[in-house]
Symmetry: C2
Subunit: 465 residues, 2 copies
C-alpha cells in the first residue's frame, strides 16, 4: 500500500477491514439519497473500541480527517465525505458497523449495553422475545445503527411517548478527538459526578468523538399494537384528530401526518391500493401500544374525537393485528424511499411549536412557490412533536439554497428550529445562525476544540467553516 496512513490502518485492523477499492468504498462514500458524498481515501472498519482508538491515533498522527459513519442512513450529509478533494488527501471513513456486541438485558434496571454498530432492527429482534423493546422506532430501522442514532439524537415515530435518543441514552463509551477513550456505562438513575459527556455526545454528529458503545433504557414490550389511518380534508382536521385522541388515550405512542400527494406517491411507487376512498388532502396515522385491547380503545377515542359530525374527517380505518397494522404503516413508513426514488428531493426537517404548526403548513406552499416555481412539495411528519419533513421535488437547478433559506426561516420565525431529528450535517451548517447566536456558536467551537483539538473528527459537519 503506497499511502502511509492506509498502511498504518492496515496494521491496526488487518487488510480485510481497510477498504480501498473504489467499487467497495462506494457504499460508504455516497449517502443513500444520492445528495451527498465524495471519494474517501479509505474506509476502515475497526472491530473493537481499542481498534477505534488506534485508528483515531493513526489519523491524528497523520493529520487525516475522519468521518465517523454508522449505517449511512443519515439525511444531511453528516456521515459521508464532503466531496472531491485533492488526490491522496481525502478523508478516512470510520465505519462502526463491526461494533456488534449486545450485552445481556439488565431486566432489573430496564437497560442494555450495546455496541455502536448494532442496528435498531437487530436490537428490536433481540429484545422482542425477552419481553422488551427499544422505545425508539424509525423507518430506516434495518440500516440505522444505534451509535449513529445517538450521534444525531434521532427521534422517529414514538417520541411522543418514549422521547428522542437523548432521553434513552444513559451512558456511553467513546473515543474522543483527543484519542482518549471515555467509558461511563453504569446507567445509574442518580449519578451526578461530573459533566454529562454522554449527553454532550448525543446530537454532536460525530464532531467530538466516535461513540463505540451505549447504555440504553429499554421498555417492557406492550401486549398489543394498534393503528388507525384517518383521512381528512385539511391539516387542521388531521391535527385536531391527533390532539383529541392523545388527550383521551394514554397509550397513544405515534401520531403521524402525511399529505395526500405523498400518500399518492407511495401508492404509485409500491403499487398499493388507496387506503380509503376519495381524495383526502391530509392523513393522520395513529399508533397505540399497551396491555389492553388497543384497537378497541383507539377506535373509541377516535369516535369520541372524530365521529361522523367532526369537521373535515372523511374516513378512518382501524387495525389491531400485526399484518393489518403494518399495512397501514406502509403509507407512512415508505414515504422516504418513495421520495428518494422520485428524487433526490431537497429535505427540510423543521420543528415548530405544535401551536404554530397550522400557520407553518398554511404558509409553506406559497413560500416554496415564490422561490422555486414548479417544485412539488411533500410534507409528512410527527405532528404532536411539532416536527415536519418538507420534501421538495423538482427544485430548479441552483435554486436549492434559496428555498432552504425561505422554508427554514419560516419555521424559525414561528418559534421553531431548522433541525428536528436529522441534525445539521453538511446540509444545514450555513443556516445554523438562524437558530443559534454567535455566542452559542462560539461556545460550540470552544467545546469542539476542547475534545477534538486537531479538528480531525467530521470537519465541515454541524459547524460552519
Amino acid at each position: 500500500v503506497a499511502d502511509a496512513v492506509v498502511g498504518s490502518l492496515v496494521d491496526v485492523v488487518g487488510p480485510g477491514h481497510v477498504l480501498t477499492d473504489a467499487d467497495v468504498r462506494v457504499g460508504y462514500e455516497q449517502d443513500w439519497t444520492g445528495a451527498f458524498g465524495g471519494p474517501a481515501r479509505a474506509v476502515v472498519r475497526p472491530g473493537s473500541t481499542a481498534e477505534v482508538a488506534a485508528v483515531v491515533d493513526a489519523c491524528r498522527a497523520a493529520s487525516v480527517p475522519i468521518i465517523p459513519q454508522g449505517g449511512n442512513t443519515g439525511l444531511v450529509g453528516g456521515g459521508v465525505p464532503e466531496g472531491p478533494g485533492p488526490p491522496g488527501r481525502g478523508e478516512i471513513v470510520l465505519s462502526t458497523r463491526r461494533l456488534q456486541t449486545i450485552d445481556p438485558v439488565d431486566a432489573a434496571a430496564g437497560q442494555i449495553t450495546v455496541g455502536a454498530g448494532v442496528t435498531l432492527l437487530a436490537l428490536q429482534e433481540r429484545l422482542a422475545p425477552l419481553g422488551f423493546e427499544v422505545g425508539v422506532d424509525l423507518a430506516s430501522r434495518s440500516g440505522a445503527t444505534l451509535g449513529g442514532m445517538a450521534a444525531t439524537n434521532a427521534g422517529g415515530t414514538r417520541v411522543l411517548r418514549h422521547g428522542t435518543m437523548r432521553g434513552r441514552v444513559v451512558g456511553a463509551e467513546a473515543v474522543l478527538g483527543t484519542g482518549a477513550t471515555v467509558t461511563h456505562l453504569r446507567g445509574l438513575t442518580k449519578d451526578t459526578t461530573g459533566y454529562d459527556l454522554a449527553g454532550l455526545l448525543v446530537g454532536s454528529e460525530g464532531t467530538l468523538g466516535v461513540i463505540t458503545a451505549l447504555r440504553l433504557v429499554i421498555d417492557p414490550r406492550p401486549a398489543q399494537r394498534a393503528a388507525a389511518l384517518v383521512a381528512t380534508t385539511g391539516f387542521d382536521a388531521a391535527l385536531a384528530t391527533a390532539v383529541g385522541v392523545h388527550r383521551r388515550l394514554p397509550t397513544l405512542e405515534a401520531a403521524e401526518v402525511v399529505d395526500g400527494a405523498t400518500v399518492e406517491l407511495v401508492m404509485a411507487t409500491l403499487d398499493l391500493p388507496p387506503p380509503v376512498a376519495g381524495h383526502p388532502t391530509w392523513y393522520v396515522l395513529l399508533g397505540a401500544a399497551g396491555p389492553g385491547d388497543e384497537a378497541e380503545d383507539l377506535a373509541r377515542a377516535l369516535d369520541a374525537t372524530a365521529g361522523p359530525s367532526a369537521v373535515g374527517v372523511i374516513d378512518a380505518v382501524v387495525a389491531g393485528d400485526g399484518p393489518r397494522v403494518d399495512a397501514l404503516w406502509r403509507y407512512r413508513d415508505r414515504a422516504t424511499e418513495s421520495l428518494a426514488a422520485a428524487g433526490p428531493p431537497r429535505k427540510l426537517d423543521v420543528s415548530v411549536p405544535v401551536s404554530a404548526l397550522a400557520a407553518f403548513v398554511a404558509a409553506v406552499p406559497d413560500a416554496v412557490a415564490r422561490c422555486a416555481p414548479g417544485a412539488v412539495l411533500h410534507v409528512f411528519g410527527h405532528v404532536l412533536d411539532g416536527n415536519l419533513h418538507c420534501n421538495l421535488l423538482g427544485v430548479p437547478s441552483g435554486g436549492g439554497h434559496r428555498v432552504d433559506d425561505v422554508v427554514l426561516d419560516l419555521a424559525v420565525g414561528l418559534g421553531g428550529s431548522i433541525g428536528g431529528e436529522h441534525g445539521i450535517g453538511r446540509a444545514k451548517r450555513s443556516f445554523l445562525h438562524l437558530v443559534r447566536s454567535p455566542a452559542e456558536i462560539d461556545a460550540f467551537r470552544a467545546v469542539k476544540s476542547a475534545l477534538d483539538p486537531a479538528g480531525i473528527l467530521n470537519p465541515g459537519v454541524l459547524l460552519p467553516a
Copy 2:
C-alpha cells in the same frame, strides 16, 4: 469602598446589592449544615442576566473567583467559599436569588420559563392554582432555587416517576465563564442544532456558567395524593414492599426508606408520636398521585404486596387527605434538619443499582464501625432510585476522610456511584477518581477550560486541584 473589584460591582448592581458587612455576608458564606464555608470578599446580588454578565466581566477583569449560589441549601460545599484565605483575596459570592421572573405557563407545550433564583416552593405555589406542578420535589423546597437545583442535577422524592432535573430542563440561559451569555429557551421537543449546552450545565455545579433562566417541563397536577408508611423488621422487607407496590401501581411516585434510628431522631427532635407501635428497624414511605382514589389504590396494592402473611412487615398506615399525608411525610422530610440539629453529620449520598442495595445496607454498618468506632449511622433515601443518604454522627475528629473513603468505595465496588443527587462539590472532589477515569477527568478539565478559560467559576468545586 477601598476594594476596586467591589467598587466595580457596586457600579453594576448598585450599593444596596453588594454586601460587604460581615454580619450580612454570613448567611451566604456558611452552608446551612455548618460543615462548609469561609469569608467572601463580598456578596453580589445581580437583578438581571445583563447584570450577571457584567459581574462576571468585572471579576474576570480582576481575576477574582466567583462562587455562584442559589438558595444555599447544598450539602457538599459547592456554593460557599472554600475557607479562610489571605485578606482581601477572597471570592465573590454571586447570589442568583434576585432572578425572580416567572413567565406565564405555556399550557400547550406543558412548559414554563423561570428565573434561576425562583425557589421550588414559589414555583409550586404559582403552578398549583393553574392545574400544573413542577414534577421535582424535595425537602428543602422553601429555600432551594431552580437554578441551583439544575446546577446540581437535583433529584428528590419523585424521580421514580418524574426524573431528575436533567430530564426536566429543556432549555437554559447562562453566563459562561468566558463572559458570553447563551440563551436557548424555546423548549422544542425536537431540536438537534448543535451541542446540548443546557444539558452540559445541568450537574456542572456552577463551574462552567452561571445559570440565569431555565425552560422547564411541568406536569398536570394530579387530583389526589396519598401516602402510606410501612414499618418493617429489616431493609429487605422495606425494599420488597416498594418493588411490589411499584409493579402494581402505575401512579406510585415516591418510595422512601428511612431507618428506625432516623425516625426516632425525628420524633425526638420534633416531639412527634411514633407513627406505629413497636420498634421497626426500617420504614418505607410510599407516595401515589393520580386522577383516581389514590388512597384506595395504594391500600389495595399494599395489601397485595405486604398483607398479613408478608415476611417482615409489622404495620402500615395509609393516608388520603392533605394534612394526614403531610403528617406521614414529616418522618421522612424532617430527617435532614433533625440530623443537622444533632450534628453536623458526615453526609454520604451514594447510589448503587437497586439489585445491590441490600448488599450495601448489610455491609455499611461494619465498614463504618471498623474505621469510625462510636459513630452512629443514619440511613434514608430513595430506594427505587438506588440512592441512599448515609449520615454519620459522632465521627471521631480527623476520621472523616477515612470513613468517607470506605463508604464511597463500598458503593463503587457494588457498581454504584459516589454522587447521587448532591453532587461532588468540595466534599467529594478528592474521591472523584473512584468513579471517573483519568481520561474522563481530563475531558472534564478540557470542557472546563473551554467554557471558563480563566478558571474563575467555582474553583475547587467538582474537579480536584
